[in-house]
Symmetry: C2
Subunit: 231 residues, 2 copies
DNA sequence: CCAAAAGTGTTATGGATACACCCATGC
DNA sequence: GCATGGGTGTATCCATAACACTTTTGG
């Protein structure tokens, strides 16, 4: 049994979590990035992340990093494991295996308040030339987010606790880079079982008819799904 | 820079890959398991797996383990990363982070031929009480497989190079534990762009009309998808 | 009244289901 | 011919897309 432990030490790696934190700000899908202050990849943008601590679960490490970077609870949005990246040489300092997590978050009222890492910034999600293999991780996260909006109610994770159907539609339009018919969208959303629940309140508007406010419903899957056009 | 390496050593973990190898044998969905010969979990069934070698990519480690266990190329079926499990204490010997892979494989003509691990056996996929957290990993793999049959052509990964529509239907019926209308299934499969291609050959049958043989088509996604009944 | 945005009704279309029916083989 | 499984045609239903239309507000 102890022989196994000795063997293990031959194949050890540092384990990190990296976060793809997505939000919708200024009408665009944005990702939280850190400007690296030290080599390797000094002065380059990178996904926030850090080491998994001794005795810490992977999910817990992701939640901790999320809190440190945004001050948010995962409850306010959505956090899930994305994929794991461990190609030798992905980190020039040695063997580092990183477990990437994807988070969908509402636009923060306090912009990056409580942020541990000064130098964190929301950037449009079409950035390139990130540090390490973070271009690839970001691309995988974006594709996962786009796909999940189809068959889950996770678009609500981008919204504040109360939101209008139009706000929810803007989420879909922003993430998918399309336009959707407001009338048909309204019907689909309000008739999909457990997607949204009316709060009874109405939104105040500059002009036009006030909109009903909704909160996220209990459904985990959308029936029927909302499919991307042109597929 | 070297200071970082020193910090890293505080958070090192052994990294393994574990495989959820699924196939359809004797009309049932089965998973390849190993009977453990040593502690911990001696004499318990476990998913096959092993350490990621020095300088070896995660995917490469999964492919290597697949070859060692089944003698198969991933090309014969389908292999993809499933998820990563690193809860402290999941392995009593120390901190072990495992990257799980999911493979869908045709029924092997040579039963476990070329297998490195004697003691490997195909078992019905409803087994319980596996070693470590392998119950959970297997459950995640099964759910992933069931979901993927809906919107990808991966059911063909369970089939030999040439197969009939009825064989393909049996895959769906076995994985989803339902029955499907043979007539409607035939139409959906043959009309879904790029799902299957006729080879021109026909299958020899004991009785009844001979069936056309097909091979897998080039499509990566099914349009339209094949949805599970009763959702 | 007008503009603007929310929300409803209506029709046409395409996929899914259910099932009647025909086809090709072994016996 | 008969049994058996492969494969096609067709009616009905339901979700969608397109869009005319009504409602509710601010100015």
């Amino acid at each position: 049994m102890h022989g196994i432990i000795v063997n293990m030490t031959l194949n050890m790696a540092a384990v990190t979590v990296d976060l793809v934190l997505l939000t919708i700000r200024q009408g665009a899908l944005q990702v939280l990035l850190i400007r690296r202050g030290i080599p390797p990849y000094q002065d380059r943008w990178a996904l926030p992340g850090g080491f998994v601590l001794d005795g810490e679960d992977l999910d817990a490490a992701a939640v901790r990093e999320l809190r440190e970077e945004t001050g948010l609870d995962p409850q306010a949005g959505h956090l899930e494991q994305l994929a794991t990246y461990g190609t030798p040489g992905r980190d020039p300092r040695g063997r580092v295996v990183t477990v990437a997590y994807l988070a969908l978050l509402p636009d923060l009222p306090a912009p990056t308040a409580g942020s541990d890492a000064s130098g964190a910034e929301w950037r449009p999600c079409d950035v390139r030339d990130l540090a390490f293999d973070h271009d690839r991780i970001l691309a995988d996260g974006l594709e996962r987010a786009r796909a999940k909006l189809e068959y889950t109610p996770l678009a609500t994770a981008f919204c504040p606790p109360e939101f209008t159907v139009a706000q929810l539609r803007e989420v879909y339009e922003t993430v998918w880079q399309t336009t959707l018919d407001p009338r048909n969208f309204h019907r689909k959303v309000t008739s999909a079982e457990g997607f949204v629940e009316p709060t009874g309140n109405t939104a105040i508007r500059d002009r036009g008819r006030p909109a009903q406010l909704y909160r996220r419903g209990p459904a985990a899957l959308l029936h029927p799904p909302l499919l991307r056009p042109s597929r």
